[in-house]
Symmetry: C2
């Protein structure tokens, strides 16, 4: 006997990595009576039909949200306001409207401007992803055992917050509620600054005069290759993130720069004790992440190694 799905109709706007992962999870778990989805790009919509990402692929945002009791915008944060504008007049009263953007204060501001008062707007950010994008890169398990942060505006309806919490919990996520501004500060350090640093160092390595690109690639197993993964993330998404979370990112960059200067000075002055002390302290953080299950314990991210073979005698 199949239970009644928690939502009658869910509408997803944007079918990239996050949207298509949600689509797969919603279908697999039966979270919607009907799943409707759409995307800006005709090619993505056609692909979505082909791989059956939803019960119905709508031609535009306005028709996608009709009669939906849950609408989730899964688009780059720079266009969140445009999406809100395109759907505002077509939303069903009482609907929950949410998003998945990596920055929250700017999205809250941009979308609120257009959304009507008779719906429940509750921004969200699942802290889960990969370096890939597009409708083929998604998978239902993406959010499993990861955190999803909700940033309901002051005065949000507790029942709507609870309903959205249940949705993310069904997808395997742990839900945390915070203020949008605090979210942006936390993510500036756990996500935005790491991406900026990775993008920088990969660019640096690519432009050296005395070291060839072929050398950089061949000897990347010394540590560099770890950075190339997140520096291969979607350029549109990340341009938007840095512009939308400018203040918090610049603040974190300032602190990072001070710390880098300290270590640089220690190297310049041959201060081995300062280096040793710092390197000992940072070990503990890795252990903490592994112990709460946010990364695997296997060394080298569990990368595989080919077995040795004896040469024929």
């Amino acid at each position: 006997m199949s239970a009644t799905p928690p939502f009658k109709r869910i509408a997803l706007i944007g079918l990239g990595l996050i949207g298509s992962s949600l689509a797969r999870g919603i279908q697999q778990l039966g979270l919607a009576g009907e799943l409707v989805a759409t995307d800006n790009s005709a090619a993505v919509r056609a692909r979505a039909v082909e791989i059956k990402l939803a019960d119905r692929i709508a031609d535009d945002n306005a028709s996608a949200v009709k009669d939906a009791d849950l609408v989730i915008a899964c688009v780059p944060v720079g266009v969140a306001g445009d999406v809100a504008k395109s759907i505002a007049a077509h939303l069903a009263p009482g609907a929950i409207v949410s998003d998945v953007g990596s920055v929250k204060a700017s999205v809250l501001h941009a979308m609120s401007e257009y959304l009507p008062d008779n719906i429940h707007f509750i921004p969200a950010h699942p802290v889960a992803g990969t370096e890939n994008s597009g409708p083929d890169s998604g998978f239902a398990e993406l959010f499993s055992n990861r955190w999803c942060i909700l940033t309901p505006p002051d005065g949000a309806d507790p029942a709507a917050v609870e309903k959205l919490t249940g949705f993310w919990a069904a997808l395997g996520a742990n839900v945390e509620i915070m203020q949008a501004a605090h979210h942006d500060l936390v993510l500036a350090v756990t996500s935005h600054l790491p991406h900026l640093i990775a993008y920088t160092i990969v660019g640096t390595a690519d432009e050296l005069e005395d070291v060839t690109r072929s050398e950089v690639l061949k000897f990347s197993a010394g540590g560099f290759r770890d950075f190339t993964r997140i520096a291969a993330s979607d350029p549109t998404m990340w341009r938007d993130v840095f512009l939308a979370n400018k203040d918090a990112v610049l603040e974190m960059l300032g602190t990072f720069q001070e710390d880098l200067s300290k270590l640089t000075r220690a190297i310049r002055r041959d201060d081995g004790d300062a280096l040793f002390e710092h390197f000992t302290r940072t070990r503990a953080i890795r252990r903490g992440i592994v112990s709460i299950g946010q990364d695997e314990a296997a060394p080298d991210f569990g990368r595989k190694h080919q077995a040795l073979t004896k040469k024929a005698d």
Copy 2:
């Protein structure tokens, strides 16, 4: 019928990650008639006996190298000179003496000072590792499909270089020969700078006032956790690397700082086009690394995701 092993007796000094990986590989492939090993630490020597890392565990460096035709120092680069001093008077004439240190010019200099003229000194650096250390962390396949760089001094015996090349090739490595100074520049960008940056950002995240350590750990899947792996590497090894390769590291840091300033300025000035252009360029590097087999193509380093389960109705 078993072939004659390429070396009559191999001596390994230092049984951490690299030394114990070599020990396992040598035994598995039968590369030595006899494998002798030792370590500074009595605890490590005792453990090596327990897990049978060699045919014989010697009590000190001097007795370990007796009659060996290949000697490899697998110790932090800061003590390479001390090791050379401790073995110099006990080496068999014609022996090949090598190391595995992550910096080459300083090791070449420090060891040459003590080593006699009647042996072949050929420094080496396998560009392969994990964030773990100690005798239990090694495995025979560590060097498989990775590069090993040899930096023979001018006038080195070609036959000895070829013999050592064959040794690393047997362990599955590709061998490249370069000048020590060039090695140090290449590794400054593909390994030392990435480690310094990772150590810095992990330290930064741990010391913030407005973001708790618990938040850093919980939301680390946004990108930060990737950096924590290499920032969990051995403090002694890395202190020594930065002190031994100071000039090249400071040079690379200078270039990195300039590039970071450029991106920071782009964010401050809302220059989305500059960000987009940079982020598009860095994507290609990742593809290059995957295409030459120096990393796996699986998204998110192939991290596993738990399957979703429907809640009971």
